[in-house]
């Protein structure tokens, strides 16, 4: 079987296994606090999938097209907040709320991207940061009482269909998140292997050469920008549903920076690497907090205990080590391992 078909089969198998998890009562000690079908575990995994999707979306614009955008959080937050506002304040039902969100999730990045893409490199990064900051300030100011300001916006449970509410239905949210990730992955994979996707990668390598060939890089960059933002917004919607509310933390610049960490961790420019990066980040973020009160860790001397109980510290440190020594992230390390194994076996 060819390499790519093997990989596709592997993905399908993984998907089936993951889908079956909620039926599985196995407990993996250390990895999760409860058995695999417990709501807590499923909740964590669902969040991990959401972040995997988000990281994937960022990989499209940063890893494949080479656009260092610091504003990705804006679109994730848009997905979450617009749906939340539509449900909570405008009393729309879910399908209509989603419709409005989808529309805004297309128009906003189109407009913002059209403006931002007039610049390149660092100025581009800063303009995207500026817009994201503007969004963050906007949310925090709680204009017309819409966004809930610092406290965030909770979803009234009456606004959602019964299948998505309640602890017993966590598995539905789990499947929703898994489904989102699967669909996003397929879409992303199709996109990067399609002609526009190849142009994206060419732009990353050498934009001038692309324009010399008669292709307008601006349009393709905008396309990557909008597609990526739309995916991020969808992730935001699912996030909202899982969390039952939106909070302003997801609009902050540090959140986008954390996204950057996720994608670099996993491996820039590889789809599954980014997904793994997102999953790993969210997992570590939640578990480290939990672990810090665990007896094993609590008995450590303060100078070890304190840093290790701060997930961002561990991640930041990991990130620094990765950037310095393993610029390819997980995926890069895996690839070089594979290459070494191949040459060792004399396959070359």
């Amino acid at each position: 079987m060819s390499g790519s078909r093997l990989r596709a089969l592997g993905c399908a198998v993984a998907l089936l296994v993951l889908a079956a998890l909620p039926a599985c009562g196995v407990t993996i000690p250390g990895l999760f606090e409860g058995p695999l079908d417990a709501p807590g575990t499923l909740n964590l995994l669902a969040l991990c999938f959401v972040f995997g999707t988000l990281a994937l979306s960022y990989d499209l614009v940063f890893g494949y097209t080479g656009l260092l955008s610091f504003g990705q959080a804006l679109y994730f937050a848009t997905g979450a907040y617009v749906t939340a506002i539509a449900l909570a304040h405008w009393n729309l039902d879910l399908p209509r709320a989603l419709g409005i969100t989808a529309a805004i999730a297309l128009v906003l990045p189109l407009v913002v991207g059209a403006i931002c893409l007039r610049t390149k490199d660092i100025p581009f990064a800063m303009v995207t940061l500026a817009f994201a900051e503007a969004g963050s300030i906007f949310v925090l100011q709680n204009p017309w009482g819409l966004t809930g300001g610092e406290e965030g916006l909770t979803l009234p449970s009456a606004a959602l269909p019964a299948a998505l509410v309640g602890v017993t239905n966590t598995r539905n949210l789990y499947w929703l998140a898994l489904g989102l990730l699967a669909v996003a992955f397929v879409v992303a994979w199709w996109a990067v292997n399609s002609p526009p996707g190849r142009v994206w990668q060419a732009i990353r390598e050498n934009e001038r050469r692309v324009s010399v060939l008669g292709i307008n890089p601006y349009l393709y960059k905008l396309g990557a920008f909008v597609s990526s933002a739309f995916l991020a917004s969808s992730a935001g919607v699912v996030y909202l549903l899982i969390q039952g509310g939106a909070n302003p933390e997801i609009t902050s610049a540090s959140f986008t920076l954390v996204l950057l960490v996720m994608v670099v961790l996993g491996g820039v420019g590889t789809l599954w690497g980014a997904v793994l990066g997102g999953i790993a980040y969210e997992y570590l973020d939640v578990r480290l907090l939990g672990l810090s009160s665990a007896p094993a860790l609590a008995n450590l001397p303060p100078f070890l205990h304190v840093p290790l109980s701060q997930p961002l510290f561990v991640l930041g440190l990991l990130f620094i080590v990765l950037v310095l020594f393993f610029p390819g992230g997980f995926a890069g390390a895996a690839q070089s391992l594979r290459a070494r194994a191949g040459s060792a076996a004399g396959v070359r």
């Binding site: 610049t119 100025p123 500026a130 906007f138 925090l140 840093p307 961002l312 930041g316 950037v323 310095l324």
Partner: protein, 288 residues
């Protein structure tokens, strides 16, 4: 009047953070996301020093805090440049990323060690009082902040215009390769610029603590965003530009926040950043 002086005071703080960023970007083409972390760590070091030496609220304690803050900022920045930024010289994106990682890790460490809540920062009694100018009662902390920033500006300008390393920095901002081609080791200038930026950020950190009466792990990141605005507006690599832009930003922010609505000023400043980047990426005085 109160608004104007407050705006100037804020502008002074922004300038202290921005001037280092501006030089680092101008000379090294590095977007130093860790600058906010320099600011925060120094402020905490200053706070620790103040608590350790002298009674809270005394001048000795405060001066110790200032000294410690500046020293900590310089030391931390130097370490960051030598250990993290320099090895990634050939990978500019990697350099930016490593500063991001440093920022995240450092702020998290501070939060873990001291908690996320603000801690009180004791200032000498005189600073807590106000002085009347043109009928408005202005807290003395504003004057101290502005005075310190002006002194820093003066020192910086002196350094740039009258010392050899200042000359190297000014030339390097324009054309780094040619400076090497004259037989000058630009690497040393890089470390120096990081150290200066760190010291200025440290001064900014302790002055912000004085200004607000507290230290806070999150303030550095908020300052960083404003500092980015100032740097871009004022022109990457231009200290004078940063000074002018900082004053502008501080004033605009204060007046809009007051006369329009809270937050409008911040919003306007960020939009201003976007506009300048689109229209004139080099900034008002920038040497591209």
């Amino acid at each position: 009047m109160l608004l104007a002086i407050t705006g100037l005071g804020l502008g002074a703080l922004y300038f202290l953070v921005a001037c280092g960023l501006s030089l680092i970007w101008g000379l090294m083409r590095v977007l130093n996301f860790a600058h906010g972390a320099f600011f925060t760590v120094s402020a905490y070091c200053g706070w620790l020093a103040a608590n350790a030496l002298g009674a809270p609220g005394s001048w000795t304690a405060w001066l110790a805090a200032v000294a410690a803050s500046i020293a900590a900022g310089g030391a931390f920045a130097t370490f960051a440049e030598l250990a993290l930024v320099r090895p990634l010289y050939r990978r500019p994106v990697g350099q930016v990323l490593v500063t991001v990682g440093l920022a995240l890790a450092t702020i998290a460490l501070v939060q873990g060690s001291f908690g996320s809540d603000p801690r009180d920062f004791a200032v000498p009694a005189w600073m807590g009082k106000t002085t009347a100018i043109a009928g408005a009662a202005i807290p003395n902390t504003r004057f101290v902040t502005i005075a310190a920033a002006v002194i820093a500006l003066g020192l910086l300008v002196f350094f740039l215009r009258r010392t050899r390393y200042g000359l190297i920095v000014r030339a390097g901002v324009e054309n780094r390769a040619m400076v090497s081609a004259l037989g000058i080791d630009v690497g040393r200038a890089f470390t120096l610029v990081f150290a200066i930026g760190g010291m200025a950020a440290g001064l900014g950190g302790v002055l912000a603590a004085t200004y607000y009466g507290s230290i806070d792990p999150g303030r550095g990141s908020a300052m960083l965003i404003s500092a980015f605005v100032v740097v871009v507006l004022g022109g990457l690599g231009s200290v004078a530009g940063s000074a002018v832009a900082a004053v502008l930003v501080g004033l605009v922010q204060q007046f809009l926040n007051f006369y329009a609505a809270a937050g409008v000023g911040d919003f306007a400043v960020v939009i201003l950043l976007a506009v300048v980047l689109l229209v004139r990426p080099r900034g008002l005085f920038g040497v591209s």
